[in-house]
Amino acid sequence: MTDRMRARLRPRDLLAESLAGLFTRPGRSLLTALGAVLGIASLVATLGIAETAGNQIITAFDELAATSVVVTTDQGFFGNAPQATLPWDSEERLTRLNGVTAAGTMGSVPIGGLLTRSVPIKDPLGLTEFQIPMIAASPGLYPAARGSLATGRWYDRGHSDRADRVAVLGTGAAQRLNITRVDQQPVVFVGDHSFVVLGILDEVERQPELLNALIVPEGTARDLYDYRSPDTIQIDTEVGAASLISDQAPIAVAPDDPSTVRVQAPSEPDDVRAGVEQDVNAMFLILGGVSLLVGAIGIANVTLVSVLERVGEIGLRRALGASRRHIAYQFLLESTGVGLFGGAIGASTGVLVVVGVSALRTWTPVLDPRIPLAAPLLGALTGLLAGLYPAIRASLMEPVDSLRGAA
C-alpha cells in the first residue's frame, strides 16, 4: 500500500465541512451555543463583579487600615512583666513624628460599678440608671479615631488641665440616657459627680467602644478617680507611613524599653486583597462552573442528536473514503466551534454585565484582561469535551450499518 493511497483530509477541508455542518442548521447551532453563552457569561460576569467588588472593599478597607497604628500596653499571653504605662504626653510626642496626622490616648476609668443617670433625683427603682463605661481620652483621640459628632463639640486641652467636669457621650450611651441635644447644657451624674455634656459622638471609624461610653478628659479622670495612665494610643498616619510609624511609635512613647509596648500595624494590603478575593471568587466560580457544566451538557446533547440524525451522511462519507478519525474530527470541530462561538458571545455579554453593574453602583469596573480572552478558549474546550462522546459514537459506526440505517 503506497502512502499516496491513504485516506486523507486537509485541515482546511475539515474546517469547511464542520462549518458547513453548523450553518446547515443555523438556528439550532445558535440555540446550542446559548448554553455555552450563559455559562461563560455568568462565569465572566461573576469573576468581573467579584473582582470589581473586591477591589471596592479593598479601597475602602485599605485606606482605613493602612493609616491606623495602635499602641497598647497589652503584653499578650506571655505578659508576666509588670504592666507598662504610657506617658500622659504620648499625644504630643507622637504628633511630632513625621507622617502622623493625629494621635490620641485613651483608657478605661475604674469607676467601680457606679451607675450613670441623667437626672439628679435618685430613682428608687433604678430604672433610669445605667451601667455605662467611662473612658478617659485625650483631645487628639477624636481626630485619630476619625470620629464625627452628632451635635455639640469635643473638649479641649484646657478642660483637661482644669479638670473640668465635662463629658462627651457616645451615641449609644446618649440614647440610653435619653439625651439628644446639648444646647441646654444637659448634665449626667455618675455617683455623686455631675458632668456637663458637651457633645454627642455620632460615629467613629476606629475604637468603636467609644460609642457606648461616657468620655471624659484625662485630667478630670485623674482628679476624680484612680486613673493612673492611658492604656491605648490610637494613631492616624498619612497613607504609606503606617509601617514607619509603627517602628517609631514604641521608641517615642517608651524610649527606655520600647519592647514593653505592643504595636498593631496594618497588615500588608496585598495579603488582605488576595484573601478577600479568594473568598468571593471561590463562591462565584462554583456558580459559573455549574452554569458552564449545564451548557456543556446541552452541547453534548445536541451534538449527539445531530450525530444520530446524520447517520446516513456518516455512512456516505465513510463509503467515500473518510476514516473513523476524519468523522470524529468533523463532529469534534463542530461542537468545539459551537463552544468557541458561545464562549466569545458569553465573554462579551459577561463584560457588558460587569460594566453595567459597575455603572449602577458607581464602581470602577475591574476585570483581569486575561479573563475575556481566555473565556472563548474555555468555551471551545467545553465544546471539545462535550463533543467527545458523540464524536466517538459517530466514528465507531460501521459504514454498512449507517448506510442501511439511513436508507
Binding site: 458547513a20 473518510a322 454498512v400
Partner: protein, 228 residues
C-alpha cells in the same frame, strides 16, 4: 499487472446476532477483470448487498480470500481499506445519498475531499464528471429541485469524479421510473465504452440484460449466468 481487478475465492460472510447465525454469503468465487460490466441478480434477501459491501470494502468477509488489484485485503487495516475506498472504488446507492444542503457541484466535490485530488483541480474535475453524466446544466441546483433520475446521475458523477478502478452500484435504478432507468442505462453504456469497470446489483431484468455478464444469487450462493 496480470492480477485481475477483483478475485474472490471461497468468500463467505456470516452475521452473528447472539445465538443466531445468518450465512448471507457462502463460498463465493468470483473474478472481475478490468473493463468488465457485470450484473448481479437474485431475489430479495439472497445476499446481493452483502456481496457488494464486501467487494466495496464497506464490510469484512468472514471466510475465504479477497484480492483487490492483487492485494489480499483480508489482512488490511481499517485505515488502508478506507484509503482504497477513497482512491479506487466508486459506490452508488439505491437512495442516492446526496447532502440536501449542498449544491450539485458541492455534492460531487465531496468525494474528492478524502483522497489526493488537489483542491485547485476539484472544481474542474467535478464539472467534467457532471459533463459525463449530462448534468452540468444543473451544477448550482440543490438536490431537492432534481428528479430521481437526475439525482442518481449526480450520485454517479460523484462516484466517478475520483477516477476509481471500479464503479459499484447497489440497485441504482430501484427508485426510478422506466424513463429515468433508460437514461441511467445509457450512461452506464457510455462509461463502459470509456473503459470503466462496472458492477451493478439489480432486480430489473432490463438492467441486467445490458451487462456483458450476469451472476445470480440464491440463499447466499453465487452462480454464473442469469439463472431462473
Amino acid at each position: 499487472m496480470d492480477d485481475p481487478l477483483i478475485r474472490l475465492e471461497g468468500v463467505g460472510r456470516t452475521f452473528r446476532s447472539g445465538e443466531i447465525e445468518v450465512h448471507a454469503l457462502r463460498q463465493a468465487d468470483l473474478q472481475i477483470d478490468e473493463g468488465d460490466y457485470l450484473s448481479i441478480v437474485g431475489p430479495s434477501g439472497s445476499g446481493k448487498s452483502t456481496l457488494l459491501n464486501v467487494i466495496a470494502l464497506l464490510d469484512r468477509h468472514t471466510s475465504g480470500t479477497y484480492r483487490f488489484e492483487g492485494t489480499d485485503v483480508t489482512e488490511l487495516s481499517d485505515g488502508a481499506r478506507t484509503g482504497l475506498r477513497a482512491h479506487r472504488i466508486g459506490f452508488v446507492f439505491q437512495s442516492f445519498h446526496l447532502l440536501a444542503h449542498r449544491t450539485v457541484t458541492e455534492n460531487v466535490i465531496l468525494s474528492m475531499l478524502y483522497n489526493s485530488v488537489r483542491p485547485k483541480e476539484r472544481k474542474a474535475r467535478a464539472m467534467e464528471a457532471l459533463e459525463r453524466v449530462k448534468m452540468s446544466h444543473r451544477a448550482d441546483f440543490l438536490p431537492v429541485r432534481l428528479s430521481g433520475g437526475e439525482r442518481q446521475r449526480v450520485a454517479i458523477a460523484r462516484a466517478i469524479a475520483t477516477d476509481p478502478a471500479i464503479l459499484i452500484c447497489d440497485e441504482p435504478t430501484g427508485n426510478l421510473d422506466s424513463a429515468s432507468t433508460e437514461s441511467i442505462l445509457a450512461l452506464f453504456g457510455r462509461l463502459r465504452r470509456d473503459g470503466l469497470t462496472l458492477l451493478v446489483v439489480t432486480h430489473d431484468q432490463t438492467v441486467s440484460s445490458h451487462a456483458d455478464r450476469t451472476v445470480s444469487m440464491h440463499d447466499g450462493f453465487l452462480t454464473e449466468g442469469a439463472a431462473a
